[in-house]
């Protein structure tokens, strides 16, 4: 038997390789530095790693091919997601640096796991095979399980990590079962036809696809697995606990990155590959989206903890972005991309403010502790106001444009009633965003809440995300233009 060396196109996963290499480097370098030293270089190295990854990812813009044994798609879509995730991660690194500064938790593992998680999310975006999707999913999930429990002295953190891990493992099993069923039905795990196989997409257009019961069952299980990652109802149970217990910068990164990576896979899988099957998956996703929007918004109303409030808000947002996916048209694709990119920046900013106020001890995270923040720290309160308004979808913020785009797509696809339900959920959601504003502006308090973190890096993260939220809400043309060009798939 003659062995034929496969064409190894490492450039396809260049960004991921850059991140993993940086992570290994971090682990080794840190191992040789004695304890008790200033560990500023960890954040610097991680930033450099992400910088390289962004450059490598950006260089793939315009390419359009399948590589690495047809497992990885190199297209604008993947590039868009990869770049966004890397940007989220860089901001998280900066925030974490001030969060961890001079603490026993400031260790190479934190940054290394962050790098691994980001690498997994990036891989997820370009995965063109269900096995690759699973691999990427596990890479970032396992990293996040550890990161959630990184506050080693905190029982809450441990508990939430445990919960996240157990439920996550459960959902992974569902996902795996889904892959098995899809394979059983189609005889392939590959997305696209070519290279001797027809792929799932090819199978669906071929005549063999007359009986799709098993495939639909498998797709249903895939929805369970991915729905868990994006925190869609009824797979959302872990979200509030994990968000509350995790270190605040990590919570922000989870909300921004996990959601983007998982929805990216859903977009590629459902809107592109499984498009001929939309009559089957649409009703499921519509039910999920409606439940997610309404339940997330309603349950957020009664939260007293800011991190839990933002957790429920992130559940609601998962529902909003699903409407773009359900639309399954060009505007839905580009709208979802825009939505997730801007939502990520906004939610990172919101958690950056939470981080700055709470500090490493995670104090002052109740809504009541934000009383009169505007009078103590007008700029911080102003930034949080901007984030809240953006999450609520008020014009001149990026959140409004995102909502406008995905609901627009749904209306274009004929689902105007879904948009109406979404708007009603938004009104409910507006109520709890207003609660935050009420507490900050309209209730006075002489306790004099002071930020626990005063580092320049953390503040610059707040500033940058606030600026992005505002600017992308006014000048949204260029980004939506990019997002539209990013809907060029390998297909």
């Amino acid at each position: 038997m003659e062995f034929e060396a496969p064409a190894v196109q490492l450039g396809a996963i260049g960004p991921e390789i850059a991140l993993v290499t940086t992570a290994l480097l971090l682990l080794i370098v840190d191992a040789f530095i004695p304890e008790g030293e200033e560990r500023w270089y960890l954040a610097v190295l991680a930033t450099i790693g992400f910088g390289v990854a962004i450059i490598l990812a950006a260089n793939q813009w315009g390419e359009r091919e399948l590589q690495l044994a047809r497992m990885v798609a190199v297209d604008n879509f993947a590039t868009f997601v990869k770049t966004s995730v890397a940007v989220f991660a860089v901001l998280t690194v900066w925030l974490s640096r001030d969060y961890l500064k001079r603490s026993e938790d400031e260790e190479s593992e934190f940054y290394a796991l962050l790098l691994f998680a980001a690498a997994g999310m990036m891989l997820m975006a370009s995965a063109a095979d269900l096995i690759m999707v699973f691999l990427a999913l596990e890479i970032f999930s396992i990293s996040l399980y550890v990161l959630v429990g990184f506050r080693r002295r905190s029982l809450a953190s441990q508990e939430s990590a445990m919960k996240y891990f157990l439920l996550g493992a459960f959902s992974s099993a569902f996902f795996l079962m889904g892959i098995a069923l899809v394979y059983g039905a189609t005889g392939t795990t590959n997305f696209y036809p070519g290279g001797g196989g027809e792929g799932i997409a090819g199978y669906l257009v071929s005549s063999a696809a007359s009986d799709v019961d098993l495939l639909v069952l498998g797709v249903g299980l895939l929805i369970v697995g991915l729905g868990f990652k994006i925190a869609a109802v009824p797979f959302h149970m872990w979200t509030p606990d994990a968000y509350q217990g995790a270190p605040s910068p990590i919570t922000g990164f989870m909300a921004a990155g996990t959601k983007f990576a998982a929805v990216a896979t859903m977009l590629r899988l459902f809107v592109v590959v499984l498009y001929p099957l939309r009559a089957d998956w649409r009703p499921i996703l519509i039910a999920v989206a409606i439940a997610t929007m309404l339940l997330g918004s309603v349950l957020a109303v009664i939260q007293e903890d800011v991190k839990r409030l933002l957790a429920y808000s992130s559940i609601a947002h998962a529902g909003f972005v699903l409407t773009g996916l359900i639309a399954a048209n060009d505007r839905g694709l580009s709208g979802s991309l825009f939505y997730l990119a801007t939502y990520g920046l906004t939610v990172l900013g919101a958690f950056a403010v939470v981080t700055v106020l709470a500090g490493r001890k995670e104090r002052n995270v109740t809504l009541a502790s934000y009383r009169g923040l505007f009078y103590e720290r007008p700029l911080l309160a102003g930034a949080l106001t901007l984030f809240m308004l953006s999450l609520a979808g008020v014009p001149l913020t990026s959140g409004f444009v995102g909502k406008f785009l995905v609901f627009g797509a749904a209306i274009q696809a004929g689902y105007w009633w879904l948009a109406v339900i979404g708007m009603l959920a938004s009104v409910i959601a507006t109520f709890f965003y207003l609660r935050v504003l009420v507490v900050m502006y309209m209730q006075e308090d002489d306790r004099g809440l002071q930020p626990a973190i005063t580092g320049r890096l953390a503040n610059s993260v707040v500033g940058l995300t606030a600026a992005a939220t505002l600017v992308l809400g006014i000048v949204w043309g260029p980004l939506i233009d990019l997002a539209e060009r990013a809907t060029v798939f390998f297909a």
Binding site: Q412, W416, F431, Y441, G477
Partner: protein, 518 residues
């Protein structure tokens, strides 16, 4: 001078002023107040340029700008005014300096206060000038935020409840409008655009029109407000600081009525015609209900708030009877209500500053200690209840005339509303200013000072001017009113031909000068 972009300068001058105020140190009260006053005054002066350059005979929209905002999505920064928006803008810029003067009594957190007040002005002016549905929606919501903060941060005891209620009601309506806007956008056929002028005359089947009209109507009916969507209004008006109440009543409510005229009727005339009986019924209920509830109020500010419900009922009635008289009367009455109710809120605010109470029972016999205040209050109350010779009469007369020609007996309940208005206003005046003072302190109240008189005097002058010589106002209003009335009467977008005819009818003549074409 006609090339000077008056409209855009007027819209954004207050926002620039807000930034300027933001740069002033927060404890420099004098500088903050005078800067805000200067900005609003200059805005008013510039807006006079609009008045001078406005051509009442020209059809379509004038003095505007047309710049692309987001090309791919057909979103543009498109502004322009006609006879309706002109007066709404003038009303806003005219009342704003007076509202700033009324804010002299605000002593805490002046800096954010004036920032919000000025941002509010930009939002409201934008609503009246936007000719792009996306832009309109943006301004519509942007006007909401500062008002939310004004009520919530500087209002009275129950301010937070009022602010949140105000916000949620409005957002509920406007999000439904957003769905309708998007639906129009995606179904307008040729070339995706939010340009109102291009979207006019988009054919829609009657069923679709009905839903779309309801979408827009939800937003506007909440804002007007029409019964039963009015419940936010008494709370918001009562709890807001004086300047907030003035702008809320005088301008913000008009945003709803304006939206009906500008968007809901011309875009979906068949559905609008279908809903005329319903809207008229709601308007009549509003007139009677608002007036009846006002009679029973113990709180003076709440009384004025409920009188707004009644007055806006008149405005909507006039707009929907489908006659030129009714339409012109409705539009004129929007100005009148802005002036008289604005003045009433200023006066109630002045009373509150002196006695820290708004309860009618806490006053009595004030006419001896504060004769000027009492006199002005009586004057404004008479204007508000429609005494001939003052502004309110002209508007209400035109509305009743228009109603009479179209619907005859509908005028009876409406006229009864005027009687009720006389009752609640004069009875309140009597209880507050006449009789023997119940409480000793009322004997030694300080009368209006120069600042307060100077903020009331311009309003009184206009009240008289419109009352005796409404012609210049009506001359500019009528062409636009006539066009809209005719659309409501016989316009139709159910068929393609009718739709094109309607479009030519409204945007006939030269379009807004195009600054940038691509």
């Amino acid at each position: 001078m006609s090339n000077f972009p008056f409209l855009d300068v007027v819209i954004f001058l207050p926002l620039a002023g807000a930034f300027a105020v933001g740069l002033i140190p927060r404890d420099n009260d004098g500088a903050l107040r005078w800067t805000a006053f200067a900005v609003t005054l200059v805005t008013f002066v510039v807006s006079l340029g609009l008045l001078l350059n406005f051509d009442s005979d020209a059809a379509g929209f004038q003095l505007g700008t047309d710049v692309r905002w987001v090309k791919d999505w057909g979103v543009g920064y498109i502004t322009g005014i006609d006879g309706i928006s002109l007066w709404m803008i003038m009303l806003t810029t005219f009342l704003m300096p007076l509202a700033v003067l009324a804010s002299w009594t605000i002593t805490t957190r002046l800096k954010p206060y004036f920032v919000f007040l000025l941002a509010l002005e930009t939002g409201m002016l934008g609503v009246f000038s936007a000719l792009d549905l996306f832009l309109f929606y943006v301004f519509w919501e942007v006007a909401l935020i500062p008002m939310y903060f004004l009520i919530g941060m500087w209002g009275y005891a129950n301010r937070i409840y009022a602010a949140v209620k105000f916000f949620l009601f409005t957002v509920l309506g406007s999000l439904l409008m957003l769905v309708a806007i998007l639906f129009v956008y995606f179904n307008a056929g040729e070339g995706a655009t939010f340009d109102y002028r291009a979207l006019l005359g988009t054919p829609f089947s009657p069923e679709v029109q009905r839903l779309l009209f309801l979408g827009f109507f939800a937003a506007f009916a909440v804002k007007v407000p029409l019964v039963p969507l009015h419940t936010w209004l008494p709370d918001a008006h009562t709890e807001a600081p004086t300047a907030g109440s003035v702008m809320l009543a005088a301008v913000m409510l008009k945003m709803g009525a304006y939206g009906l005229l500008r968007f809901a009727i011309p875009l979906f005339p068949d559905a609008a015609r279908e809903f005329v009986p319903l809207v008229m019924t709601l308007a009549i209920i509003g007139i009677l209900y608002g007036a009846a509830v006002a009679v029973m109020q113990k709180d003076l500010k709440r009384l004025v708030a409920y009188s707004s419900v009644a007055h806006l009922g008149f405005v909507v009635l006039g707009m929907f009877v489908g006659t030129v008289e009714g339409m012109s009367g409705g539009i004129l009455q929007m100005i009148n209500h802005g002036l008289s109710t604005g003045a009433l809120f200023l006066l109630v605010g002045a009373l509150y500053d002196r006695r820290h109470s708004r309860l009618i029972a806490d006053f009595g016999g004030l006419s001896k200690s504060v004769p000027v205040l009492a006199g002005i209050f009586l004057f404004v109350a008479l204007s508000s209840l429609g005494l001939p010779g003052l502004n309110g009469f002209v508007g209400e007369f035109l509305i009743l005339l228009g109603t009479w020609t179209a619907y005859r007996w509908w005028v009876v309940p409406a006229a009864f509303g005027i009687v009720l208005a006389a009752i609640y206003l004069l009875w309140a005046y009597q209880r507050v200013f006449h009789g023997e003072p119940v409480i000793e302190e009322n004997r030694v109240m300080i009368d209006l000072n120069l600042r307060e008189v100077s903020m009331l005097a311009p309003i009184m002058a206009l009240i008289v001017l419109i009352g005796v010589y409404p012609k210049p106002f009506l001359d500019t209003i009528e062409p636009a009113a006539e066009r809209t009335a005719q659309v409501l009467k016989e316009g139709s977008v159910a068929s393609r031909d009718g739709a094109q005819q309607l479009r030519r009818h409204i945007v006939a003549g030269p379009l807004v000068p195009v600054l940038e074409e691509d």
